[in-house]
């Protein structure tokens, strides 16, 4: 961690957040908020949290800003002038100041920032750092804890993405749109006849394969470098988002249809949970990957953990990819799945 960067960046972050709440033009606010997540990514890299930074880079820069822009696109951009509502402002400032006071009081009680001897850095985390290499043979401790020691959390985290996409898809899709969507399954759409600018089309067309290749690298190389299923999945989803911005949603659906998307959403989580279930059937506890060595005796229990983690990451990536794309298509086309942003 580098304290000089940290102080400068955090000051910028606070200013940026404040301004994005302050300005009256929603589009501007959303774009400033994009800068907020860029800076947050740098803050986390500065503190050595590379996986979190990668996730923030993928989510903040790639996806959540686009969600905001899509919402502003389909609603209104202007903020209506409100009368100065004294009681609400007074009430909420009292609450905020009270909360701030409470939190500030407790700060004096914390171990200093960056103290290597604090309880957080010693109790459980120390065990992971010292034993993960022996028990799983995965150098990236974040991946091994994410996909093995606390795999149950990660399974439900993937479940959250599934639930969110299902909720958004169900609620935005109108009943007439639903019938049209089912009819249009896998029909042939010409990729030549599009209205978008040539530059965007060509540039995005060139970018997309490289992005997908890079995403696959991130997924499978998560054991040795920052990254893993979630980050790779978001980048894969972002490549599809890019494609559907360069052409339109219908043309992407010709290759990757809605039906398929909903299925792959569920299949991703099912791969994860299914591996856990196989372990249970083979006589271990749920998600105890070492039980898989009964199925493949040539792998020891450590090797089977290593491999099972890889497959789990693939499942996560599948769900996250289709989840991000499903959320984008629903939000950007307001549930019509035709033109998009």
């Amino acid at each position: 961690m580098i304290w000089q960067f940290d102080i400068l960046l955090l000051t910028l972050v606070v200013v940026c957040g404040f301004v994005s709440l302050w300005i009256k033009d929603l589009m501007g606010a959303v774009i400033v908020f994009g800068a907020y997540s860029f800076l947050m990514c740098l803050v986390w890299t500065g503190m050595g949290a590379v996986d979190v930074a990668f996730t923030e880079a993928a989510v903040g820069a790639g996806v959540s800003t686009i969600f905001f822009i899509a919402t502003v696109f389909h609603t209104s951009r202007t903020i209506r002038y409100n009368k100065w509502d004294l009681s609400t402002k007074f009430f909420s400032s009292i609450i905020c100041i009270l909360m701030g006071f409470f939190l500030m009081v407790a700060i004096g009680d914390f171990p200093a920032w960056g103290d290597a001897l604090s309880p957080v850095n010693n109790n459980v985390a120390k065990y992971y750092l010292e034993n993960s290499m022996e028990e799983t043979k995965v150098p990236n401790v974040v991946t091994s804890v994410l996909a093995d020691y606390r795999a149950f959390d990660t399974m439900f985290e993937t479940g959250v993405v599934f639930v969110a996409s299902l909720v958004i898809f169900t609620l935005l899709l109108q009943s007439d749109g639903r019938k049209k969507l089912m009819k249009s399954a896998f029909q042939k759409v010409s990729f030549l006849n599009v209205s978008e600018s040539l530059i965007i089309r060509k540039a995005c067309g060139l970018m997309v394969p490289f992005m997908q290749l890079f995403a696959l690298y991130v997924v499978v190389h998560g054991h040795y470098s920052p990254g893993g299923g979630f980050q790779g999945g978001v980048i894969l989803g972002a490549s599809l988002i890019l494609l559907s911005m360069a052409y339109d949603i219908k043309k992407v659906f010709a290759r990757f249809h809605m039906k398929f998307m909903i299925k792959s959403l569920a299949v991703g989580v099912l791969i994860f949970a299914g591996i856990g279930l196989i372990c249970l059937i083979l006589g271990g506890n749920f998600l105890d990957y070492s039980a898989l060595s009964k199925l493949f005796p040539s792998m020891g229990s450590i090797k089977s953990r290593y491999n099972a983690m890889l497959w789990v990451e693939v499942g996560v990536a599948l769900t996250v990819m289709s989840g991000m794309f499903a959320i984008y298509t629903s939000l950007s086309s307001n549930g019509k799945f035709e033109e998009g942003l």
Partner: protein, 499 residues
């Protein structure tokens, strides 16, 4: 197999919930039976866990290590005599609701039915997980699963449901974030997330300010989630506008599970010593809950809409439980714990009955209930059993929980809480007798009864899979009441440490 039951409780609804979107593309008619099968499987697992648990020593618990990593390093599932009761309540309520809900879902949701079932099962998974987990962060993730699904379920409702859902989303995320922040304050002082280990480590840190702030924020987060009185604003609209099936599931369970989490943290993470001796805020919170009870009852009295009235009764009931726990007397805590189970079934009974009425009558305004006793006798008798239980009339379980709560308040000298309980019971009596008056005698007070129109009303009961669960729930209410003593000695006595 015998030692895997704990995880199977969660796995059945999880897998079926994930499979339903795929299966629905091939055959929509198997979705409902599948959902019921998965819940029966889960019920079977809960039942087996309970039989295992009852063979053991009363104060012991069963642990399950996910991924076979020992407790502070992996995630632990724990079942003891406290949460086995809550698990039973959750699984019974969700099973009965699912059986009940078939026609209602088809009528209200049409095309969205399959996705609705998927969200429904994942919501149940979240609640079961919250109840059973022994890890503070795992609880947050499951809380978010339950919240996200409930946003989706409520937003599928009619009319202003969208705006209600948005308010719920803002408040709910705030509550979950407060919880996460509180856990962070404990984590920075202890370095562990496992509840058992926190219980062992925290007594050394009782004078630390960070632990105090952590405790306050965890309790505050749970108060937002359970709609404790000043923070209740999201609940009435959200639950009264949700689809009937979703309301039947959510109203009994979501708030009660939050109360469970609060009590869990008070008893099994922070000790009773910390909550009642080191902190001296008992009286303030009991006064707050007295206000909550009275305010909830008065709001309920002013409603003209049956569902809205019931939602305000829920707000008052939350006051019972919070106040009972914070009286700091053993009887009060026991009463509150017993009331979690009892209230889940009471609320279920009332909401199901209202669901039946809406299914036949078409709306839930009080005026349209004229002559309802003749038209739907079974539904209305069950509704009355639920109502009597809320009022607290002896053979039903509501009486016994109220009795324990009053005894706890009496022993700790909280007379205002007793007054609030009595006032609330009286108001509830007024509420339900008003419904009896309208439904049985068929007229508002100053209107002459129109006998001819009453004669023409025909017997028109709901289908059997709707009234049968309702009858079962009202039987459960009476059975719980009769066996109160057994439940107390077998389950609740051992969880609350003597003070």
């Amino acid at each position: 197999m015998a030692d895997q039951f704990l995880v199977l409780i969660v796995l059945f609804p999880l897998f079926v919930g994930l499979l339903i979107p795929i299966i629905a593309y091939f055959n929509k008619s198997v979705v409902w039976p599948l959902a019921i099968l998965s819940l029966i499987g889960s019920f079977w697992a809960v039942f087996n866990t309970a039989t295992q648990l009852l063979k053991l020593d009363p104060s012991s618990s069963i642990s399950y290590y996910l991924g076979n990593w020992m407790a502070p390093f992996g995630i632990e599932y724990v079942v003891d005599r406290f949460n086995i009761m809550v698990l039973f309540a959750i699984i019974c309520v969700s099973l009965l609701t699912t059986i009940f809900a078939k026609q209602v879902i088809e009528k209200e949701l049409g095309d969205n039915a399959a996705n609705f079932y998927s969200l429904f099962l994942l919501f149940i998974t979240g609640l079961l997980g919250i109840t059973i987990t022994g890890d503070a962060f795992n609880l947050y993730v499951l809380l978010e699963i339950a919240s996200l699904t409930s946003y989706g379920l409520i937003a599928l409702g009619r009319g202003r449901a969208l705006v209600a859902t948005f308010n719920y989303l803002i408040m709910g995320s705030m509550g979950a974030c407060f919880y996460l922040l509180g856990v962070g304050y404990l984590f920075i002082k202890t370095g562990t997330l496992n509840m058992d280990q926190l219980y062992d480590v925290l007594p050394l840190l009782f004078d630390s300010k960070a632990v105090l702030v952590g405790f306050v924020f965890i309790i505050l987060g749970m108060w937002v989630k359970m709609a404790f009185f000043p923070l209740h604003s999201w609940l009435p609209n959200a639950y009264s506008l949700a689809p009937t099936a979703a309301a039947c599931l959510m109203a009994p369970l979501m708030t009660k599970v939050s109360v469970y989490v609060m009590i869990r943290f008070m008893l099994n993470v922070f000790s009773t010593e910390y909550v009642y001796s080191v902190l001296t805020i008992n009286n303030i919170i009991v006064i707050m809950s007295s206000i909550a009870i009275i305010a909830g009852s008065i709001y309920a009295l002013s409603q003209k809409n049956l569902k809205k009235m019931l939602t305000f009764i829920i707000v008052a009931e939350i006051g019972y439980m919070v106040g009972g726990v914070w009286t700091g007397h053993v009887d009060g805590i026991r009463g509150a714990i017993y009331h979690i189970t009892a209230d889940a079934f009471m609320t279920l009974c009332l909401f199901m009955a209202v669901g039946c009425i809406v299914y036949r009558v078409g709306n839930d305004k009080l005026e349209s209930l004229k002559g309802i006793f003749k038209k739907m006798p079974i539904t209305m008798i069950c509704f009355l059993v639920g109502g009597f239980s809320v009022i607290g009339i002896p053979p039903t379980c509501g009486f016994f929980s109220k009795w324990y709560l009053i005894s706890g308040a009496f022993n700790s000298g909280a007379w205002y809480f007793i007054i609030a309980l009595i006032i609330s019971s009286l108001i509830n009596a007024v509420l339900f007798f008003r419904i009896i008056e309208i439904g049985f005698f068929g007229a508002m007070s100053n209107e002459k009864p129109d006998y001819k129109s009453l004669q023409s009303i025909k017997f028109n009961e709901v289908p059997i899979n709707m009234w049968l669960p309702l009858v079962i729930v009202s039987m459960i209410l009476i059975i719980l009441g009769i066996y109160t003593n057994e439940i107390m000695t077998n389950f609740i006595l051992n969880i609350v440490p003597m003070m």
